[in-house]
């Protein structure tokens, strides 16, 4: 039982490149979230999903896209990477009483 897994752990991108951050869960939970954490800041919600095929924007969705074709997976796509997207990205699973967080992906855009 792995809980919430994220890949990769680290990545360096050049400006304009694209990539997909992977998030997978084995908790069979409908609710999944993507957050970003900038230095000295709390987490900001990028996108969330309340079930397969249903996604919606959070506080800071610009520059990102998501899809949710299965309950288990919730990938986050960066199409044209910009330095402002340098951050640590966390995926989370859960609703109301508890959210379980993955270990994070540290992304640097140069």
């Amino acid at each position: 039982n792995a809980g919430v897994t994220q890949t990769p752990k680290f990545r360096i991108l050049k400006i304009g490149q694209s990539m997909t951050l992977q998030c997978a869960q084995d908790m069979n939970h409908n609710y999944m979230y993507w957050y970003r954490q900038d230095p000295g800041m709390g987490l900001k919600l990028i996108y969330y999903s309340v079930g397969a095929g249903i996604t919606d924007k959070g506080e800071v969705p610009n520059g990102y896209n998501v899809s949710r074709s299965t309950t288990e997976d919730f990938p986050l796509r960066l199409e044209l990477a910009a330095p402002s997207q340098t951050s640590v990205y966390f995926c989370a699973v859960g609703y109301a009483d508890t959210q379980y967080f993955g270990p994070g992906t540290r992304l640097t855009v140069l």
């Binding site: 609710y31 000295g40 709390g42 999903s49 309340v50 966390f90 609703y95 508890t98 994070g104």
Partner: protein, 114 residues
């Protein structure tokens, strides 16, 4: 709109001393309140939560928090701090409906000195 303020960017306490981390929130209804801890290089772990009922809630690792509606506060406390408590602590407010969006404070980094 919901918001969370953690007035202290960092706090240093001696091992064995008591701890209080401050959190103030803004929310139009009865809030869902949380405290999370983040160790370096790790994800967030839930310490405790308040939804309703007893305003003093107990969490893991010996932490507790008290909800004070009149002060819009949800301060985290621990009677005796251990060196392993050094971490970053985040207060959060949850908004039910839709995807249950959670708003996080900026965090307070706790340093523990011997």
């Amino acid at each position: 709109a919901q918001s969370v303020t953690q007035p202290d960017i960092h706090i240093t306490v001696s091992e064995g001393a008591s701890l209080e981390l401050r959190c103030n929130y803004s929310y139009g209804a009865t809030p869902y309140l949380f405290w999370y801890v983040q160790s370096p290089g790790q994800g967030l772990q839930l310490l405790l939560k308040y939804f309703s009922g007893d305003t003093l809630v107990q969490g893991i690792k010996g932490f507790e928090a008290e909800f004070k509606r009149s002060q819009s506060s949800f301060n985290l406390r621990k009677p005796s701090v251990h060196w392993s408590d050094a971490a970053e602590y985040f207060c959060a407010v949850g908004a039910p409906g839709g995807g249950f969006k959670t708003i996080f404070g900026a965090g307070t980094r706790l340093f523990v000195k011997a």
